[in-house]
């Protein structure tokens, strides 16, 4: 479960958001859509403490924090509650696919290397990459890299998944394989709490239980995917979606 109360973040005079309130229950998949620069990544990064929030209270899994006074030790613990998949994959380039997946197991969970490798291979198999266990990131396609990153997240056993535009850095022909992988992940783990930033609207409609439209650091509209995406009530949402569909069709 994720519960966010009065979350605020400002980057040197540039206020990104000042009062975010949001609850995502266990088993829910919240999709966030919204224009570039509206603060979607910043919100996810605050939950993972990759950015230090200025104010607010967050309950994430079994942990709770009140910004801004968070010790390093507490931050490490809070980060272990959730796991993040990045737009740019952020794989460790000097480690092979299986070593990437095993890193958390070996370093954080202190699992013996052989057992960690075994687990890593299982996770790679789930994303369809067991044959690529010994490949380095530089030797993989974008889609494969993102699937390794997903396997790396799954291996942490965190029940909270933060997905920040997992397919937007990919060539269009590679988007499908990653979405298929993500779909099987959420179907296999109905107990996961997921926040997904994505503009793959078809995919969002298929998997999300809740959608919010985010603009200028405000939650403009929220509701069921079919309502928000097909019958948006707010003019800002309507404008964004119509512009967005036009762009997609034009491509």
């Amino acid at each position: 479960m994720i519960e966010i109360k009065h979350l605020a973040k400002t980057f040197s005079n540039h206020e990104i958001f000042s009062d975010i309130n949001l609850t995502v229950n266990t088993g829910e998949i919240l999709a966030i859509i919204g224009p570039s620069g509206s603060g979607k990544s910043t919100l996810l990064r605050c939950l993972n403490l990759l950015e230090q929030p200025d104010q607010g209270e967050v309950t994430i899994g079994d942990s709770h924090f009140t910004a801004p006074h968070i010790s390093k030790k507490q931050a490490v613990k809070i980060r272990q509650e959730s796991t993040m998949v990045f737009q740019q994959f952020n794989l460790f380039r000097q480690k092979t696919a299986w070593q990437n997946v095993a890193e958390n197991l070996v370093t954080v969970k202190k699992i013996a290397k052989t057992a960690a490798k075994e687990r890593a291979l299982v996770e790679l198999d789930k994303v369809g990459l067991s044959e690529y266990a010994n490949f380095y990131p530089g030797q993989l396609s974008g889609g494969q890299k993102q699937r390794v990153a997903i396997a790396r997240s799954l291996a942490t056993d965190s029940k909270i998944l933060l997905l920040d535009e997992p397919t937007s850095a990919l060539d269009s022909e590679l988007v499908g394989e990653v979405l298929t992988t993500l779909k099987s992940v959420v179907e296999e783990h109905p107990d996961y709490t997921v926040i997904l930033v994505s503009h793959e609207l078809e995919f969002v409609k298929e998997v999300a239980t809740q959608v919010i439209f985010f603009e200028d650091g405000q939650i403009v509209e929220s509701g069921q995917p079919k309502d928000v995406l097909s019958h948006p009530q707010e003019t800002q949402t309507q404008r964004f979606l119509s512009r967005f569909t036009q762009q997609t069709i034009a491509q």
Binding site: N48, R93, K95, E103, T107, V108
Partner: protein
């Protein structure tokens, strides 16, 4: 005509000089290890802009880079005893300066020198590490120390290694000045032999051959290390073994999906 050059002596000198190789290597390896650790500390302090220490280290680096190593060796030789006297005075201890082996003066000078020269290189290498990978490591719940050890330093090493290698080689050559602080290493022993036989040219030629050999061996080792840590840059070609087999013969394709061939870029 008298024998101008004793060719045989050039070679008979070598084993005599090599007896002092352990001293030379001892200075090199110890100064390198301590110097690198110190360099990492300087780099981290300057990257994190820790007040006072940053200014102090900036000054130290500038000073070391701006003065000859020979002068630094003398400073260490005369400075360490003075420091010890102050220590004795303020802590009411009674350490004897004569008990300090000459090796220490040399080691202090070279270690500080290495630290100063490598800290800039290490700082640049640390800065070049991809932010995204560090964030990924953070989000996996790794601590700062774990990230440094497992992600940042290995990544930075790839960038820093060529310069570190050159620095290592100039350290090997630099140890030939250690005699000024009273350490008998290869060059100092060479001077002793030369003083005895008056065959200066031959002795220095023997020394030149030894240092050259050391440098070449070091270069080879560095190249091997470089190759190893750059392994992630190799290109892998996936060949579907089954396709290859069924295309070329009647052998029933076995159930082994891919074979990996490694080739190097360039």
């Amino acid at each position: 005509m008298p024998k101008l050059i004793d060719f045989k002596m050039i070679f008979t000198n070598i084993p005599l000089l090599l007896q002092y190789l352990p001293i030379t290597l001892g200075i090199v390896i110890l100064s390198m290890i301590v110097g690198l650790a110190f360099a990492l500390v300087i780099a981290l302090v300057r990257l994190n802009k820790i007040p006072v220490l940053t200014q102090f280290f900036t000054l130290l680096v500038s000073f070391v880079r701006g003065t000859p190593i020979l002068v630094q060796l003398y400073l260490s030789y005369y400075g360490v005893p003075i420091a010890l006297k102050y220590w004795n005075y303020y802590n009411h201890t009674n350490y004897n300066i004569n008990n300090i082996p000459a090796f220490i003066f040399v080691f202090v000078a070279f270690a500080v020198n290495e630290a100063a020269y490598n800290s800039e290189n290490i700082r640049g290498a640390l800065l070049s590490v991809d932010r995204g990978e560090i964030e990924a490591a953070q989000s996996l719940g790794m601590t700062g120390g774990q990230i440094l050890r497992r992600i940042t330093i290995p990544e930075a090493l790839v960038v820093a290694l060529p310069t570190l290698g050159n620095q290592f080689i100039s350290l090997i050559k630099g140890t030939s000045l250690a005699f000024v602080a009273g350490v008998i290493e290869m060059t100092a022993e060479g001077q002793i032999i030369a003083g005895r036989s008056f065959r200066y040219f031959e002795v220095y030629l023997s020394l030149a051959i030894i240092y050259w050999g050391l440098t070449v061996i070091t270069e080879i080792i560095i190249r091997l290390v470089e190759k190893r840590i750059n392994k992630f840059r190799t290109v892998q070609k996936v060949v579907k073994l089954n396709d290859a087999l069924s295309a070329s013969s009647e052998v029933t394709p076995i159930k082994r999906p891919v074979q990996v061939l490694e080739t190097e870029i360039k």
